[in-house]
Symmetry: C2
Subunit: 352 residues, 2 copies
């Protein structure tokens, strides 16, 4: 009997417990209608069968007469949501508003979509300073301007004092694309790249929570423009937010049915990130980023993809390769293979 089971922090951490709970919820919510990729960063709906010249429209199916007009119509709608409850809400390089915008823009972008618009749903604790709210809205607007993605709808609710810790933001987004970049597209032989060093978001937030001074800043940024420039080269792509590199690369490897070997000599973590993680006793592989992507690229394309990426992301590099098999391993400097698993232990709560 599971009747007395309680929700724990790790059910929302992005690791194994989150995955277990999600499977249980999906077991109840079975219908996906005509949607695809519902287990990826965003769900996908093929618009082609909706867009039929009106006079020929027939409920539920496209009559033959419509086909010529539909030729070449390949646009897919991409849809996602992300909830943010971070502590602290203001931190070096950003705030809850910035990461709420980046998180959803990036979930659309890693699917290969051009984000069209964001919905902003805010729950505020009674007594929250209005100037802080307007500062957060200002951050949201800055990301909107930088990314070119407008906030087009939303909702605001207020909860009595003591019933919420300051503020919660849920962003949802819709995007459009002709070509989906799936989570499961890694082929044996592909190289694994990162768009930049990882984990600075988590470490910045934690350091800020403990009043520990560092020079680090959140790595959050909207990725849509970067990914647009290289999307033709990406076989699979994901942004390593909750659960970090470990959770996300393991998920990609499992879905793609490949083995991935990461190279310890090219690990994408700054010295200061490693130092703070060691000080706090946190596994670097589970540190979240809010403005980085990891992707699989065919060996023939790697030079071109990295050359483009490095123009605006000098830290972009190859961190490993895929081969036939299963599992994710870190090849150490001594050439031993250490398994990387989906985080199962206690994760860091409320970082994204």
């Amino acid at each position: 009997m599971e009747n007395d089971e309680r929700i724990e922090l790790d059910h929302g951490g992005g690791g194994y417990k989150s995955w277990q709970l999600l499977q249980e919820v999906r077991g109840i919510l079975k219908s996906r209608g005509d949607w695809q990729n519902c287990e990826d960063d965003a769900a996908v709906y093929d618009l082609s069968h909706l867009v039929i010249p009106a006079p020929d429209r027939v409920e539920g199916k496209a009559p033959a007469a419509c086909l010529p007009a539909r030729q070449g119509i390949q646009s897919k709608l991409v849809f996602t949501s992300d909830g943010f409850i971070v502590d602290p809400i203001f931190f070096p390089g950003g705030d809850i508003g910035k990461i709420a915008m980046c998180g959803t823009i990036n979930d659309l972008s890693v699917m290969g979509a051009k984000p069209l618009g964001i919905s902003l749903s805010i729950v505020i604790e009674e007594g929250f300073p209005k100037k802080d709210l307007l500062k957060i809205i200002g951050s949201i607007n800055k990301v909107s301007e930088e990314s070119g993605v407008p906030v087009v709808t939303g909702d605001t609710k207020v909860t009595p004092k003591g019933k919420l810790d300051k503020i919660e933001i849920t962003t949802s987004g819709v995007g459009i694309t002709d070509k989906i970049i799936p989570n499961n597209g890694i082929n044996p032989g592909d190289v694994i790249i990162t768009s930049g060093d990882l984990g600075e978001h988590s470490v910045t937030l934690l350091a800020s929570r403990f009043n520990y001074k560092t020079k680090l800043q959140t790595d959050s940024k909207p990725l849509n423009k970067d990914i647009e420039k290289v999307k033709d080269y990406l076989n699979a792509c994901k942004d390593p937010t909750r659960g970090g590199l470990a959770a996300n690369i393991v998920e990609m490897a499992e879905k793609s049915k490949v083995k991935i070997i990461l190279d310890e000599t090219t690990l994408p973590y700054k010295k200061e990130v490693i130092a703070v993680s060691e000080l706090l006793g946190i596994d670097i592989f589970s540190l979240a980023s809010e403005g980085r992507f990891i992707a699989a690229v065919s060996p023939d394309d790697k030079g071109q993809a990295l050359a483009i990426l490095r123009k605006f992301n000098p830290e972009a590099k190859i961190i490993g390769r895929a081969e036939k098999g299963s599992g994710v391993y870190l090849k150490t400097k001594l050439s031993a293979l250490r398994p990387i698993e989906m985080p199962k232990g206690k994760l860091i709560p409320r970082i994204c």
Copy 2:
């Protein structure tokens, strides 16, 4: 200086203070990109210019060669979000999951859209009973099955104990339509109809909060199938959730630039709803419903529209009429005109 101003419960209540805050937020978040109707229940994006045969695609504009293939393409994407923090979370006839689904399905439906899919973002307090979560997910699934609208993506976060009151749910939805029903489409001469009696949701929740026994149940239900049957007759439509009939009819009248006269002899409130409201000292016009719509219908169509509606909603009726002018008034039984205004006083928090 507004530096010390704090967020109050009424900033999220759906009345005048909510509207004021929204104007301030919109003043910062100016860009709407190519979206329209951003001040309605859902934002609208015209897909026609996106759907261009791929070989002819040119960044940013449709070349002339594409035009024949686009003829008749009129589909509009509709997008909305709604956050739910209700107390209690289980109440007669429903729970937070049911109203979270109905709220977003209905916001799409009142715009004339067919809902395509829902995104479900949940924030849970650590220690929340898992069986209660699964019960809520079961309610969500029931609405999904009844409405035919799948849950296709989402997010789950967990906040430490004491940092949230049990659970918060944000639903977002995308829908599609060839014809938008705007908030501002009321013409002088139109009649105002309701699909059923109003306010039972608010009263049920309040009675439940105070352990006051009534036979009332929440009126929450998905409206998509009902509205689909009559949408060709509706010039304007809205679901009177937060802020009730008062806030929503005033908004419609202002946007449509018409005067609306409601008739006291046909007020859409059950005796028990009125009785409980009087007992609790609440204005019935600000009571929320979660499964009703109000709409404007041309006089020539009213018979047909009501005949269809009454097949499945026997309470559907005419409650007033629009004429040239401005303001909303209640014509009393003694033929006096009492102004109905957007609620300015303390509203009932956490009912939807």
